[in-house]
Symmetry: C2
Subunit: 337 residues, 2 copies
């Protein structure tokens, strides 16, 4: 059994802990948190050993009546791999800790690409992470783009990708963020960081990205254009994408017009936290004009990187190859609608 520790127990960490627990070949050593809150309570409720990330704050947990299993160092020492799911920039500060314990570590997309040996997307470059000590699982949007562009590039060749990412202003719990009643070019300069980030997975891919921010919290939505070397018809593209496990083609008959109905659908299907781990591609939007492919896809910012983190655990340990790992992850988590 692979011993996995999760350092940081927020939006990503709590989901990764659940996903690791669901894997038949993995065991959760524990989760570490800086301070007690409702998520810490739930970790204890779930029976997850809870470690304190900062020794000075041990008394806060005691005051909150939450029993901790120890300090984060002990958790790291007992793990084969650590998933660092701390806020952007904190992962970099934690690197020395993981190195001191000679424990391979996975970081999230908010860290700089040059912190690690390789950035990672399971479908895109699984093998690059095999045997690596420090791996960065790219962000939600880069994950969504990598999953889509990998099969397109393999099947037809991508001459150039141009993507406008219409991003949610904040997650549902981030009640202090904006914008309200506005459409912001964000960043107003080009490219947004997403294009260069995709290039950490596919260094040769020609991609330009533009970012915007709008008053929505549920999911991001991408307006995707890909100029292809070999031009298929739209039905070929549909068949290709339908054959990819982490791409969900929204059937026109479902009457799903946006993220609200997608989340409702996920809840009806019993998805934990209404998570949608798959790219959601509107089948009807898949269009080929001249040598240009167009489509819309929605990306659930809180959860699409979770299966990728699970795969990265196996990749760094050489515990399975790409196909085997993705299949195991998806089976255990229940991907696919």
């Amino acid at each position: 059994m692979i011993q996995v520790a999760v350092n940081g127990y927020g939006t990503i960490g709590k989901r990764v802990a659940d996903a690791v627990t669901a894997q038949p070949d993995m065991e959760l050593v524990g989760v570490a948190k800086t301070s007690p809150n409702h998520e810490a309570e739930t970790a204890v409720e779930n029976g997850y050993p809870l470690y304190a990330a900062i020794e000075d704050r041990l008394d806060l947990f005691a005051e909150a009546g939450i029993e901790v299993a120890g300090l984060v160092e002990e958790m790291v020492e007992g793990a084969d791999v650590v998933v660092d799911a701390t806020p952007s920039g904190i992962g970099a500060e934690n690197k020395a800790l993981y190195e001191a314990h000679d424990t391979p570590a996975l970081y999230q997309g908010g860290e700089d690409a040059d912190l690690v040996d390789t950035s990672f997307n399971a479908r895109g470059n699984y093998a690059d992470a095999e045997g690596a000590d420090h791996v960065r699982v790219v962000s939600c949007n880069t994950t969504g783009l990598s999953r889509l562009l990998a099969p397109l590039d393999e099947a037809y060749g991508v001459e150039k990708a141009r993507v406008t990412l219409v991003r949610r202003g904040g997650d549902p719990g981030q009640t202090g963020r904006g914008p309200i009643n506005d459409i912001l070019p964000n960043p107003v300069t080009l490219p947004s960081h997403h294009g260069p980030d995709v290039n950490t997975i596919f260094p040769e891919l020609n991609i330009d990205t533009l970012g915007m921010k709008v008053p929505a919290t549920l999911m991001h939505t991408h307006s995707v254009n890909v100029t292809l070397d070999e031009v298929p018809d739209a039905d070929d593209v549909r068949d290709l994408l339908a054959g990819e496990d982490r791409l969900f083609l929204i059937p026109p008959a479902y009457g799903i017009d946006g993220a609200g109905k997608l989340k409702e659908f996920a809840m009806d299907r019993g998805r934990p936290r209404a998570d949608i781990w798959e790219n959601c591609i509107w089948d009807e939007s898949i269009t080929v004009e001249d040598d240009d492919l167009y489509l819309f896809q929605a990306i659930h910012q809180e959860s699409d990187v979770v299966p990728e983190n699970v795969d990265a655990v196996r990749a760094v340990l050489g515990a399975a190859d790409r196909e085997e790992s993705m299949a195991r992850t998806d089976e255990a988590m229940g991907l696919g609608f």
Copy 2:
């Protein structure tokens, strides 16, 4: 003096009436409305002769204490040109009225292109409307795209334009519209109507458009990509666009990040109804990668077609050529920041 009548006194009609009144070579015959409301009260307040568009509803005006100058037929008879600013589809019903009085008519972008002799954008195809009896002033988004694409095509040649239009859900007064907290592909199929609509102005232009709808009311925002035949650098493009009277390049130093600040800026400058008649292009967003130009522009859906309606009046009567008309319109309305 050109005698201009405005049939329909809502979002567009009231603005066109004001703009016509401001022109030194035009006189407002009057405005017609179907029923009394706050806008009818303001028309009277402004001293605009108010005509009833439907005879059966004359008593409604009487009940509201609003004096009408007569019926719409009398207004049309007294006009050299009628601007039809009625809701989509009603313009088509009114066509027979204008023909009966042998009065040239301008319609708005909500009408079908095949209702008229030509669609119209002042910068794009002014001359096509000269002497025409029925002319359609294209919609706000198509106007914004035509103003931008005309100079780019003339200077560099447009190989292909690809535009994602992130559209406001409704105008500030349309309180019953959505979406709330969502990002909707709209329409989910491609192309959106905007691309074909641009082709009513530039039949040969290669353009693909994608539409989305978001919870915002102030302005539309376009993510624009144009593949050019001859590739300039970004500063050349800036100079070219800065030389166009109805394009406003937002200076980076202004700190304007979206439509909220643009409208605030317009109010500070004393613009009537905070109208922004110009395309608002973020200077910083103008980027050239390979042979692709990218930029963001915001379009004020309630007002950018108003100067175009004024120009179309002169065009159908042969009262001025393009440069002369645009200059007169802009001078009288106060375009340019």
